[in-house]
């Protein structure tokens, strides 16, 4: 536990360095080349998130707590049922919608229709940064976070159009009019700019975990450097079955969703195991 804490601080330090260097914004053209969509992430620190849908399936209230934590931390206005003006950094859609292009007619009941957390995938090969005409959004080379500069954004919404995941929101109206009690250590936005999740880069720089990760008590969301073979995210992905959203588009999302059940067959269906033993003689 102590070791992983130290490792995380080291990683956070690197992130802070990256933030300092962010003023020299680099074009993302290098990542725009024909890349193998299944290839592992590029060199260096690559921050990634693993969301365990099995654990979330057992903890219905957690989804809302994650959303609440993020939106309060980042002064994201709550428009209620007004989907037209809605701003979402992290939100829940049912499992089938989250993985829209895949088919899940016969999945286990505990995943069916389950609220699934959706956020910016911080793609290794992001289409949104490629289309931005002012480099107001870019992929930070030091850790792969897809950043936003709300002071440069011209509000053309081309990035919103280019994102295959619906992760970006546009401020159709003044968000400050909706915020009753803003968090003072995080900026509010003005009308007319695009915003989205930034993997809590401001918290990472202070050595903290992302807000949505922090409210999780049982590793429902795990965050870390996927390029580090000993990181927790990496260990989990080696053990478990995880999927990403729309992998065929070659964007290489860095948010992974665990869908398998870690229990053995014997734990899930002892009757089935017994049957095999009787017929085949295997224990």
């Amino acid at each position: 536990m102590d070791g992983s804490r130290r490792k995380f601080l080291k990683l956070a330090g690197l992130t802070a360095l990256g933030a300092a260097g962010a003023s020299s914004i680099k074009a993302t053209a290098s990542s725009g080349a024909a890349a193998d969509h299944d290839a592992p992430s590029t060199d260096g620190v690559r921050l990634a998130m693993v969301i365990d849908l099995r654990k979330f399936a057992k903890n219905d209230a957690l989804v809302e707590r994650c959303i609440e934590a993020c939106h309060r931390t980042h002064n994201v206005p709550d428009f209620g049922d007004d989907e037209k003006n809605a701003i979402k950094w992290i939100w829940a859609d049912d499992f089938e919608t989250a993985f829209h292009s895949q088919e899940f007619h016969f999945i286990r009941e505990d995943l069916k229709g389950k609220p699934t957390l959706l956020l910016c995938n911080h793609c290794d090969n992001p289409p949104c940064t490629r289309v931005c005409p002012t480099q107001a959004t870019w992929r930070r080379e030091s850790d792969g976070i897809v950043m936003m500069d709300w002071h440069r954004c011209i509000g053309c919404r081309y990035c919103v159009v280019a994102c295959p995941y619906g992760s970006r929101s546009f401020n159709y109206m003044d968000p400050r009019r909706i915020l009753d009690d803003p968090t003072i250590d995080y900026p509010t936005r003005m009308r007319g700019v695009v915003e989205k999740c930034t993997f809590c880069e401001e918290r990472l720089a202070r050595g903290l975990q992302p807000a949505c990760v922090e409210v999780c008590t049982n590793d429902e969301i795990v965050f870390g450097d996927i390029n580090d073979p000993h990181s927790k995210v990496r260990e989990i992905l080696t053990e478990r079955m995880a999927i990403r959203r729309k992998p065929g588009l070659g964007t290489r999302p860095e948010v992974y969703y665990i869908i398998d059940d870690p229990r053995t067959l014997q734990e899930v269906a002892p009757a089935a195991v017994v049957e095999v033993t009787e017929e085949g003689g295997h224990a």
Partner: protein, 385 residues
């Protein structure tokens, strides 16, 4: 020469003030939008581009279509287009200015427009579209001004303008190609991600633009002593015919590819357009009207008798323009967002302020066309006393 647009008959001024009144209403709506935000439009989190961007896309085509009179006249020395070229170039100027205005009113932060030039970004197609449109505007202003000044002095145009005119030909093709690339390079939007989008944009532009030019020429001929000539009109009508046939062919190719391949993400957009999905049929009546108009246009235009008879040609041109305006100025952009990348069907209907602002931009375009055409005809002494 601009002063020639500042004198005119009573009818001329009534028309000018009529346009100015519409522009005033649009300006008021735009100030409201500036103060409240784009929330006053029908746009939403899922449909982020709508009527403004669709008009921009359609009008880029109108701007590019000037090449259909410029190319035969300057490259093939087709003399019959002599009187028409200036009208084509002036229409292009008005269309490009309208395009830029539609982009401007669509921006969330128009106050930051100069960021596009302060941080030029070659990997963004929007950057190239800005370069292409800006350049095209400069080219057309330069060419029309130089050629018209020479004409006024009774001299042939200076020889240095010829290469500039030749440059404007591929440039016209480029503006609509880059505009198509804005859409067709996005993995997130299967409806637009088709290699035929740019060719289809060009075909529809070369049908709708010259159709509008024919209609404008008829209007101008009625009001002034200007006569485009029978041969020029017939030739333009042939261009409209071929371009419209090619456009319809391209559209059918898209429909085949989507339907036969049977990939749901491709089919859904066409379903939304023509039958509606999940009970949302907002576009279907429009799209079928577009189909009917296209059929009417092709029947009139392919038949040489109806194409050459002015009364039917006018109907044909209106049908072409209407059909393509619906297809490109409504359906093309909106269908890209419905269903959304998450499969959601979200309605979009432009609001009254959104339409008022759009109408005002069209009025401004008409004002520019009126003023510029007046100048051209004054120079040629073709204005009725």
């Amino acid at each position: 020469m601009l002063e020639k647009a500042l004198t005119g008959t009573r009818t001329y001024w009534i028309w000018i003030f009529f346009l100015l009144a519409i522009m005033g209403a649009g300006a008021a709506a735009w100030f409201w939008q500036l103060n409240v935000g784009l929330t006053i439009t029908g746009l939403s989190r899922d449909v982020v581009w709508g009527f403004y961007i669709a008009q921009f896309t359609f009008l880029v085509g109108v701007a590019a279509s000037a090449v259909m009179v410029v190319l035969p006249y300057y490259l093939h020395n087709y003399k019959a287009f002599g009187k028409m070229t200036i009208l084509g170039e002036f229409l292009a100027i008005a269309a490009v200015i309208m395009c830029m205005s539609f982009i401007f009113v669509d921006m969330g932060r128009p106050d930051r427009i100069f960021n596009v030039f302060l941080y030029p970004t070659p990997h963004s197609m929007m950057f190239w579209d800005t370069v292409a449109l800006g350049g095209y505007l400069v080219l057309n202003i330069l060419i029309s001004r130089v050629t018209l000044s020479s004409e006024r002095r009774g001299e042939p145009p200076p020889s240095w303008i010829k290469p500039v005119i030749l440059l404007s030909i591929p440039w016209a093709v480029s503006i609509h190609t880059v505009t198509a690339f804005l859409y067709s390079g996005l993995a997130a939007r299967p409806f637009w991600m088709t290699a035929i989008l740019a060719p289809r944009f060009l075909a529809s532009a070369f049908a709708a633009g010259p159709a509008l030019l024919i209609l404008l020429a008829f209007v101008v001929r009625r009001l002034t002593k200007f006569d485009p000539g029978k041969e020029a009109i017939n030739k333009l009508a042939e261009i409209v015919t071929y371009a419209m046939i090619i456009n319809v062919f391209f559209v059918l190719m898209e429909v085949f590819t989507a339907l036969y391949s049977n990939i749901p993400e491709h089919i859904h957009h066409f379903e939304f357009l023509f039958t509606g999905i999940e009970g949302n049929t907002t576009m279907a009546p429009w799209m079928w009207l577009s189909v009917i108009l296209a059929i009417v246009a092709l029947v009139i235009l392919i038949n040489p008798t109806t194409r050459r008879a002015e009364s039917t040609l006018i109907i044909g041109c209106i049908a072409v323009f209407g059909s393509l305006w619906i297809d490109k100025g409504l359906g093309m952009v909106i269908a890209g967002f419905v269903p959304s990348p998450l499969g959601k069907v979200v309605s979009y209907t432009p609001t009254i302020p959104e339409l008022t602002i759009s109408l005002a931009i069209y009025a401004m375009g008409l004002l520019i066309v009126t003023g510029l055409y007046k100048i051209a005809l004054e120079v040629r002494g073709q204005i009725k006393a």
